[in-house]
């Protein structure tokens, strides 16, 4: 590797740059769609797009799929317990 000018940065940064483009398009889409009357689907659509954006950040910027198994496990633990927080919390409120 070298620090010389002219080194092909594009080869290294192509994927993160395309991720940024995708995130920007998704941001524009979610803002536009939030003004379209869809009733309760507005929340579902906006959260779905936010989930896709977070997924792009985690997979491309944070490179989780390229991480070791133990690192992926550590990353999954928080989401796993968060699932219980929501499941048990709403199991109460939704069944009152």
């Amino acid at each position: 590797m070298s620090d010389e000018p002219g080194f092909s940065m594009w080869r290294l940064l192509k994927v993160p740059f395309l991720a940024l483009v995708a995130l920007t398009v998704l941001l524009g889409s979610t803002i536009f769609l939030s003004y379209v009357p869809m009733g309760s689907m507005n929340l579902v659509v906006s959260l779905l797009i936010a989930g896709i954006k977070a997924g792009i950040i985690v997979t491309i910027f944070m490179e989780l799929p390229k991480s070791s198994a133990v690192q992926q496990l550590a990353a999954g633990v928080g989401v796993f317990w968060l699932m219980f927080l929501f499941l048990l919390g709403f199991a109460d409120y939704l069944t009152r």
């Binding site: 590797m1 993160p16 991720a19 940024l20 941001l27 507005n42 797009i49 910027f61 928080g78 919390g89």
Partner: protein, 210 residues
């Protein structure tokens, strides 16, 4: 390989890197639960006061929110670019990306400050003089203030961590390549970005179509 980056008790850089990245993912797991408690609270109260949350959400400033979201997304790109460059030994390029990341983070905070000022001028703070009549609207704004402030605090810590990379790599370009610091800082930065990506629809897009 330089030994400057190697710290006790590790015998090699590879093991140190694996441990550091494992450690930050564990920390981020606790952060998921920390923010998750606030997201769960928001969700429960939105379920209990759906109309008030839509009316209150309509009062947030979507211009500031949208521009700030874009700023954070671009900052994450520069953070990723800097981290890749650091890993590849392209220290000069990495040291261009890190200040850009920090400046974008500061721009976010400055815009947030202007936004807070606008919110306060409209008395959108729960308590005496709160202008929205809907029962539950004040709860939305309580979540708005707490969640955005906690996020901004995390971003401030992220800016300090990025500046640390810039300072420590000043005379030690090999440190940036060998140390896990760039990777760990990048993971934290992207996490803070991802939290904002989830906050944005809940706080800024609610009630736009009504």
């Amino acid at each position: 390989m330089s030994s400057d980056a190697l710290r006790e008790p590790f015998s090699c850089l590879a093991r140190q890197h694996e441990s550091a990245v494992f450690g930050i993912w564990l920390f981020l797991g606790t952060e998921v639960l920390f923010f998750g408690g606030m997201f769960a609270g928001y969700s429960v109260y939105r379920f209990l006061y759906p109309d008030a949350f839509l009316a209150a959400g309509h009062e947030t400033n979507i211009y500031y929110g949208s521009v700030n979201t874009f700023i954070l997304l671009v900052s994450s790109f520069f953070m990723a670019a800097g981290e890749i460059a650091a890993r590849e030994g392209l220290t000069r390029f990495a040291r261009i990306c890190f200040p850009l990341t920090a400046v974008l983070g500061m721009m976010f905070l400055i815009l947030k400050g202007f936004e807070y000022n606008d919110d306060l001028e409209k008395h959108l703070f729960p308590g005496p003089g709160f202008p929205l009549p809907e029962n539950g609207a004040a709860i939305f704004w309580a979540f708005y203030w707490v969640m955005t402030f906690v996020h901004a605090s995390h971003l401030t810590a992220g800016i300090a961590a990025v500046i640390r990379l810039q300072i420590l790599s000043r005379n030690h370009p090999e440190w940036l390549r060998d140390s896990p610091s760039a990777k760990v800082t990048a993971l934290y930065w992207h996490f803070v970005d991802a939290i904002w990506v989830m906050l944005f629809p809940l706080l800024y897009l609610a009630g736009r179509s009504s």
